[in-house]
Amino acid sequence: MDYEAGTYQKLPIKQYPARELGETAEGRYWRRFLSPATAKQAGAVNYLEFCPVRPYNLAVTSSTRVLVYDGATRSLHRTINRFKDKAYSASWRADGKLLVAGGQDGIVQLFDVGSRSLLRQFKAHKRPVHVARFDPGRMHVLSGGDDATVRWWDVSEGKQVSRWEGHSDYVRAAAVNPAAHGTWATGGYDHVCKVWDARSAQSVLSVDHGAPIEAVAFFPSGSVLVTAGGTQVRVWDLFGGGRELACLSNHQKTVTCVTVSPNAGPDSSAAPRLLTGALDGHLKASVREGVYELERFQVTHIQKYPGPILSLGLSGDAGLLAVGLADGTLTVRKHAKPRADPAKAGILVGRRSRRAPALTAATYRYFIRGQSSKAAAKDSVIAAERKAALATHDKFLRKFRYRDALDAALSTRRAEVVASVVEELAARGGLSSALSSRDAAGLGPLLDHMRRNINDPRHAPQLAALAHRLLDVYGGSEALTGMLPALTLLLERVELELRAQDGLTRVQGMLGPLLAASVGAC
């Protein structure tokens, strides 16, 4: 059990306990929706929808316009402004070629996206139409208006097929069952969500949400319906005759939009995700866990937006997340690792079969032949001397090159590696030589590391000590002037942290008497 004297012992990298919040796989997944692209619209973004086919263009309805953004570049692609009044609910056909939109004037209009030309106009609603959707069969359009009617149109003829009566107030939400295409769910301000059969134009089921319904959505199985309205989101089991599975009250204000995505979420836990947005500016992702009988919806991630959320959408490959706010801001975030295209998943790329080249001295393989073959049973094997693979900072530490070791640790951009190396240098007394005689460029990575991590309570004490030391070494020197922008940024971070601490102290001060009073009351 004795150790090998004379061999270099690797520097053990510090490991920190998992943080209580936000370090789940789910949290990491949602945080990887990065690089937000924002665009300011003329009015509130009341609806947005991703095109079902690549490259997942985005149709945004705002004020009197419908804007189409390119899914690949996230830049404006088309603008349709053929509306006399406010446009509502521009929705894609399944092939991504046509758009249907309602409007304040009660006219449902059909556009060709490529040419932006108006193809059809359906005029029957007496009141504004807030919801219009294509049937997945491509030949019909459903629209719901503030005249409390739902109408079913034929695209080729341009005529109304049927009128569905049953709602007693504005109809504001509609969704088609992805598993049974003839089945639609509509929700209205009469608190009722009705499920219709398009063939018979009859309501087959109705459930009472208890608040004006703003949005409805189906789970991919088609058996679970989600209704959102008021501050609650309710989940219904359609096969169970409209049994309420769950009532989620996670929002503070009215929930305005709800989306179910089968593809979102990390690889480790594959379950459909339910995304809800509300007027309180929070976007919450919930995951449905468990088997059918044991429904449990857990909020797995929360994102805060600087205004009331009116609409949200997630592209088919879960690579783009778009959120529209009441102040007209549209934010599109891109995930670092989108899913493979579900449409292409089944197609295998044909592989070329390669013939093994002849083993002659003209090829490189000839010279490495036999190197990977296994030893026979009677062969005597000499074990190769295993050379410990050392990290770059370990190599420099071994050679007592302290400054290079610190640079190597900084270049990994891993805070725990830097923390371990700095601790080791402090214990060896090599910190001053690692820090000294650097110019502004040499100090850049170090200051950058400080700026990124000085708010982290796991690294703050060490980095504060390091910053003091740095200022001691470079106080009044020429390198300090080069460091000034970085130092200013560092100062801002520290001030931010101090403000946060100040706020926490205040909260603690407020809580103290309350807790004392409650303890006293017990």
Binding site: D2, G6, S436, V473
Partner: protein, 849 residues
């Protein structure tokens, strides 16, 4: 083919061992098969191939100071000792062939011309004498010189030059003229070591600044210097002529011829100029030449062996040997093999051709240098191995039964001498401050202090709490793997660490933060820590630990912690008060107020150590200058006594507990046999049972320390049940109690032997120290220590008088009423018992009719 000498490890019932063997020169025998080291009163032999212990040479009655090979016979060695003898040993039989009685202790010796030896003997602390000794007749020769005490001698070829050094001077002399005609080589820095090449041509000396000075042609220079001295008829430097020796030694010295008046002669030939080479950043610790004289080996505090090749003027290194090098011995048979002696009690045989360590012998690690008096030491549950903290944040597992190293655990990486010269002061070395084992030994908790990254001359030592889990089935070794670490758990110091006796829970406390924290292991599945399977397995053993609760009492600094053996209670010493907490939550259950101090208005002393006894609801606390036994059920102090307590321990298997008492060393007693300036320190170990005030057994120990030194605390450890050590020691101590191990501050250990039949208090054991000279075993103590008599006198009186009064009476109260009223209110006896006693005291005796 040599006979095997039985190792006498068990001396009767008393197991002894430990101690330092790296302080004195060692020897690699001529055949290169055996390493001999001086270890106390004997010489230990280890195999140079495997490091196994082979045999011991026993016979010296004081510390062995040097061992030298007999150049005529590869199987024979010479040794010298402080008992004033030289011995010639046969390694095959292990017997002393011949013994020479030199009338004074020998510090170092070298072999001169055939039949002669040069001896260096200390006279007092500062000075010593150097003379030739005739081995055939056994008489000291005429050639002598005064030198500094403790100067080690170094020899070149057989019968050739001999060199030694004083502070700034190296002395070299040949056999013909002796040390009085020695060549003196001066240097501005103090020398630390010297070596002569085997052909007597080259002399190398290392100094404190790390430079090595090399003189060539030293034989010719030494001869011409001696000729010059002989020509002038006097010593060259008249001021350095030895004054007439004084004292008892004087009789043995032949009259020194009166120095002739200095003549105006030709000036002495100039000393040859040295070549200086410099690699070591700190003092050179050891120097040696290879057998053929072409290589010079040097080592120092950097733990790097440097090989200097003079022919090609190149250096090669063997780094990271783990401890400061203090001795190098080359093998005459194999030029590539060296035996290195390190300050951390380690002996290594290295091969400089392959640059590999071939064998290592590890002794019990010495106490790390520094101000802290009590590095943690404890016995591992299950195995009974002694676990001690060494320097460089290492923890060593040591088998007491076999006196052998088992394993080591590096708590955090540490490189010796890593500081660059000229970049400010060297940071303080990391140190281990606390260790604790779970009841089954599967988890080890450690606290170590390392310097932080802050600038300044005095970096703060940041404590780090670490939990180590044992990977399953690693055999005898420790096999602990890091599970969880918590940096700076209290934002300040850590004063105590305790492990729950049954559950996976621990507690740590802090003085500065005035709080304690309860740590529990999470039941959740451990995070996958890495690709390595071993790490994952260890993580499964040592799951993540987290802080479950924080507690504090009245912002009092918490100085000690102890769990009750049943695991229901946590006792924390908050200031002078003992606070009782629920072991699972930080919920205060009760308080035990401190015993009343002797002076009115004095602050009660805080407790330094607390232990809760098993099978009894009693807590024992060691205060500053006192002991207190408290009942946890009635929450009152049962009795307290003012005693110089150095430490205490509670038996895990019975209600016994033990305390070590010690006073600062008094002035030297006559006839101790040691050098001047030392004093005997009296230490007493008392074994108590439960709340009884009379100790069940006592041991009186004496050791020699520097006069006036603060008492260095030995540690007492109860042997955990079920281990091999408990089997060896069964019946060794008091009946019903677990055996006691005493670990001295010099890391000598011994098992305390059981008292003789019927002897209540008076049993003595000894502890061998580096300067030896201890009491004989079994000598009963007639007069106990001062504090003891003060303590037990009232008890003897109390047996005759009122028992309820004597109980709970603080010591040292003078006035008759003070014995009544000094007691704290919570220990006052009932009014029924108090009133008659008070009246009896008030009324003068004899006047009552």
């Amino acid at each position: 083919n040599g006979p095997f000498l039985a190792m006498t490890q068990q001396d009767g019932m008393q197991l002894r061992g430990g101690g330092q063997f790296s302080a004195r020169p060692h020897l690699l025998t001529l055949d290169g098969q055996t390493v001999l080291v001086c270890h106390g009163n004997f010489v230990r032999a280890h195999s140079a191939v495997t490091g196994e212990p082979l045999y011991r040479l026993t016979g010296h009655t004081a510390e062995v100071t040097a061992v030298l090979a007999d150049p005529d016979n590869a199987k024979r060695v010479y040794t010298s000792s402080l008992d004033g003898t030289l011995r010639h040993w046969d390694l095959r039989s292990g017997l002393a062939l011949r013994t020479w009685r030199v009338p004074e202790p020998v510090e170092s010796f070298a072999l001169g011309p055939p039949g002669h030896a040069w001896l260096s003997c200390p006279v007092n602390d500062a000075s010593g004498r150097l003379f030739r000794y005739d081995l055939t007749t056994g008489t000291p020769g005429p050639l002598r010189r005064k030198i500094a005490s403790g100067s080690p001698l170094s020899m070149g070829s057989r019968g050739g030059l001999v060199a030694t050094f004083e502070r700034h001077t190296v002395l070299v002399w040949g056999p013909k003229h002796g040390p009085r005609g020695a060549l003196s080589l001066f240097h501005t820095k103090p020398f630390t070591c010297v070596a002569l090449s085997p052909d007597d041509d080259t002399l190398a000396a290392g100094d404190r600044s790390g430079r090595i000075l090399v003189w060539r042609g030293i034989r010719a220079a030494a001869e011409s210097a001696a000729e010059a001295v002989a020509a002038t008829g006097a010593v060259t430097d008249a001021g350095r002529a030895p004054p007439p020796p004084t004292g008892a030694v004087e009789e043995a010295v032949e009259p020194v011829p009166a120095p002739a008046p200095p003549r105006r002669a030709a000036p002495p030939p100039p000393a040859p100029e040295p070549a200086t080479v410099h690699w070591h950043a700190q003092a050179v610790g050891a120097l040696a030449f290879s057998a053929d004289g072409t290589y010079l080996f040097s080592g120092g505090r950097e733990a790097v062996l440097v090989v200097w090749d003079f022919a090609s003027a190149r250096r090669t290194y063997l780094p990271r040997l783990g401890g400061a090098l203090v001795g190098i011995c080359a093998c005459p048979a194999d030029a590539a093999r060296l035996a290195l002696r390190q300050a951390d009690n380690t002996l290594r045989v290295v091969n400089v051709a392959t640059m590999k360590v071939e064998a290592s012998v590890m002794g019990l690690r010495p106490v790390p240098a520094g101000k802290r008096a009590r590095p943690p030491a404890l016995l591992q549950p299950g195995t009974g191995h002694l676990v001690v903290a060494g320097s460089h944040s290492q923890v060593q597992f040591y088998d007491l039964v076999r006196d052998a190293h088992v394993d080591r655990l590096q708590l955090s990486p540490h490189n010796l001498g890593g500081a660059e010269a000229g970049t400010g002061p060297e940071p303080p070395p990391p140190r281990v401050t606390h260790l604790a084992f779970s009841a089954d030994g599967s988890t080890l908790a450690s606290v170590e202090a390392r310097p932080d990254a802050a600038a300044g001359s005095a970096p703060r030592l940041v404590p780090t709490l670490k939990f180590w889990g044992r990977a399953a089935a690693r055999g005898a070794g420790a096999g602990y793997v890091l599970g969880t670490r918590a940096d700076d758990p209290h934002r300040g110091d850590v004063s105590a660490l305790a492990f729950h006796p049954a559950r996976d829970a621990a507690a740590s406390a802090s003085l500065g933060a005035a709080e304690f924290k309860l740590w529990v292991r999470d039941g959740s599945a451990p995070r996958s820590a890495g690709p390595e399977a071993s790490r994952a397995a260890a993580a499964a053993v040592a799951g993540p630990w987290r802080c479950a609760a924080v507690g504090s009492y009245a912002l009092q600094p918490i100085s000690a912690l102890a769990y009750s053996p049943d695991g229901s209670l946590l006792v924390a010493a908050a200031g002078a008060t003992l606070t009782l907490w629920h072991a699972g939550q930080a919920r205060l259950l009760g308080l035990v107020p401190p015993p009343l101090p002797r002076q009115v208005n004095a602050r009660p002393p805080p407790a330094r150590q607390v232990a809760v006894l098993s099978h009894a609801a009693l807590a024992v606390s060691a205060l500053d200058g006192g002991l207190a036994v408290s009942c946890l059920l009635s929450r009152r102090v049962l009795w307290a006594a003012g005693l110089p307590v150095l430490g205490l321990a509670a038996d895990p298997g019975s209600s016994h507990w033990a305390a070590v008492l010690g006073e600062p060393a008094a002035a030297a007693r006559g006839g101790g046999g040691g050098a001047a300036g030392t004093a005997a320190q009296e230490l007493t170990v008392l074994l108590f049972r439960g709340a009884e005030r009379l100790p069940a057994a006592a041991w009186q120990l004496r050791r020699l320390v520097a006069a006036g030194a603060a008492p260095a605390a030995p540690q007492i450890l109860f042997v955990p049940p079920g281990c091999e050590l408990a089997g060896v020691a069964s019946g060794a101590t008091h009946p019903g109690s677990s055996p006691l191990v005493l670990l001295g501050p010099d890391r000598h250990y011994s098992l305390l032997r059981r008292a003789g039949a019927g002897a209540g208090v008076a049993v003595a054991a000894t502890m061998t120290g580096p300067v030896a000279a201890a009491d004989v075993d079994g000598d009963p103590v007639q007069s106990p220590a001062q504090g003891l008599s003060a303590m037990f006198a009232p008890e003897a009186a109390g047996q005759a008088g009122d028992k309820s009064l004597a109980q709970g009476t603080p010591l040292g109260s003078a006035a008759p009423w003070a014995t009544l009223l000094d007691a704290p209110s919570h220990v006052l006896p009932s009014l029924d018992a108090l009133c008659p006693a008070f009246l009896k005291l008030l009324l003068p005796e004899g006047e009552v009719v």
